[in-house]
């Protein structure tokens, strides 16, 4: 299953990356004569209510959805590793305080908070870096910022057990400083479960981004992410079901493939088997 999922995900990613060079229809070409047309030769995925080609919009939106997913995962992992490593190596009161913060974040209701943060800071960032970049940075930071807790927990648990191992002892006896111990010896050995958690974070981030867009609070309307396409399509369900189906199926396939890959990786890198 995991191998098949890697193939599916590769196909989807390369379609999204290379597709716009092959399928050269502009995403915002308005053609009222082809309004809401069903899939056919001229428009393989049909058109929306303004006659814009859906295949082109899907390919463009997929880039953003996937980019948000991977960028948010990167944010979550960096923050998670940082916090987990500090609290794992420091112990004592620093550890306790950092774990309190982690628990605090874990018990927050994410979606309402996401909506609140976006509502509060949207305009501020829009003025600073422009509408597209601002929203992108905001969404990536916010989604990543609410998903680092499991990573931090995992890294801390790994650190607590690894720091007592003989090879760490040996390195310390050789005179390695604490930063060198952490970076060269402990961290590389604790990355297995983090990779699994990171894979699943990508899926969660893609869902979170499309949820935001679906609620009409993500990217501005002229940027067609997959969630945005669904949001626009939901009012035309009775006359143009193809519009919603393609975007939804794309999200579903991507997330399912990523989840299967994560599951396969978990089986391959199971910490109980490794140690």
């Amino acid at each position: 299953m995991a191998v098949a999922s890697v193939v599916i995900l590769t196909v989807l990613t390369s379609a999204v990356l290379l597709g716009p060079f092959i399928w050269r229809v502009p995403i915002n070409e308005i053609d009222f004569t082809a309004r809401l047309s069903t899939p056919g030769w001229q428009h393989p995925f049909g058109t929306d209510d303004l006659g814009q080609d859906l295949l082109a919009r899907m390919l463009y939106g997929g880039r953003i959805s996937l980019a948000v997913g991977f960028a948010a995962m990167a944010v979550a992992i960096v923050v998670g590793i940082l916090i987990g490593a500090i609290s794992g190596i420091a112990r004592g009161s620093v550890d306790a305080v950092l774990m309190w913060i982690t628990d605090l974040f874990l018990s927050l209701p994410q979606l309402p908070l996401l909506l609140l943060v976006i509502y509060l800071f949207r305009d501020f960032l829009k003025n600073m870096v422009g509408p597209e970049g601002g929203v992108f940075i905001l969404i990536v930071l916010v989604i990543g910022g609410f998903r680092w807790m499991p990573v931090a927990r995992l890294v801390r648990a790994q650190f607590l057990s690894l720091r007592e191992k003989e090879f760490v002892e040996a390195a310390r006896a050789l005179g390695a400083t604490t930063p060198r111990l952490v970076i060269r010896h402990i961290l590389p050995n604790s990355l297995g479960p983090v990779i699994v958690a990171g894979t699943i974070d990508v899926a969660a981030a893609i869902i979170a981004e499309s949820t935001l867009s679906f609620l009409g609070l993500g990217f501005p309307p002229d940027i067609p992410t997959w969630g945005r396409l669904l949001f626009d399509a939901k009012d035309y369900l009775d006359i143009a079901p193809h519009w919603a189906l393609f975007a939804g199926a794309a999200i579903f396939l991507t997330v399912l493939a990523i989840n299967f890959i994560g599951d396969g990786l978990r089986d391959a890198l199971d910490p109980r088997k490794v140690m």
């Binding site: 979606l111 609140l116 509502y119 669904l230 939804g248 579903f252």
Partner: protein, 229 residues
């Protein structure tokens, strides 16, 4: 305004949780009783698909199938149904089917996997073998001895999932146009209505705290050794 809308949200969220547990418990326990059997593998695959399907997509799919193509169920949730008596209950039931199913099955998918692993952890312990060797029937062993202990981690999970459930409720309320607090939050954000946004977020936070408290109380009931004094 918020008080007026909370009952609707609680009704939808509550019944979807009941549905989720009603599906996840039997399926998870049965799958764990025969690990790696065909039933287990099918349940696992379905659960995987279930939590990879975002709620907004399943919601739209159900609307497409049952409201647009078949015309069986209404796709706009109303609180001002004119009918009385049994007809009122029937109408309410009909309009709640789709949102509750969408939310419930999504939760059921992840619960099933956790119930399965929790039961698998417990089922190999010695006291289960003791109960069997006492001559108890298989059904009694599972229900009275295994499930009760397997439920403790599941309750933790359900409590930890509560924030996510309310998040899901926001989306479902938006799809089915349910007049609950989730849709109130969205409409007030779109209208830049700060006091209402703050109030709704606060209510969400309170609900999450209340459910965590409930989970703590249920622990004590499941395992009398855990008690707070």
């Amino acid at each position: 305004m918020i008080l007026q809308r909370i009952p609707t949200t609680l009704f939808v969220v509550g019944s979807s949780q009941i549905l989720a547990l009603a599906v996840a418990l039997p399926v998870g326990v049965y799958a764990a009783m025969r690990p790696y059997s065909i039933f287990d593998q099918i349940a696992n695959a379905v659960a995987f698909i279930g939590f990879s399907l975002p709620t907004f997509f399943t919601g739209l799919l159900l609307i497409l199938i049952f409201s647009v193509n078949l015309g069986w169920l209404p796709f706009v949730y109303r609180t001002d149904i004119a009918a009385t008596g049994w007809l009122w209950y029937w109408e309410n039931f009909k309009q709640a089917i789709m949102p509750v199913t969408v939310l419930g099955l999504f939760q059921a998918a992840s619960y099933t996997r956790y119930v399965r692993s929790a039961v698998l952890d417990v089922i190999r312990l010695d006291y289960v073998t003791t109960a069997r060797s006492k001559g108890l029937g298989e059904g009694k062993v599972i229900v009275k001895h295994v499930v009760r202990n397997a439920l403790i981690p599941v309750v933790t999970l359900v409590a930890l999932q509560m924030p996510a459930v309310f998040g899901g409720a926001i989306v479902t309320e938006q799809i089915f146009r349910i007049p609950g607090i989730g849709s109130l939050l969205i409409s007030s954000i779109l209208a830049n209505d700060t006091p209402v946004i703050m109030a709704v977020t606060f209510v969400f936070a309170c609900l999450v705290v209340v459910f965590n408290l409930l989970a703590d109380i249920i622990y004590g009931w499941l395992d009398p050794r855990i008690s707070y004094r």
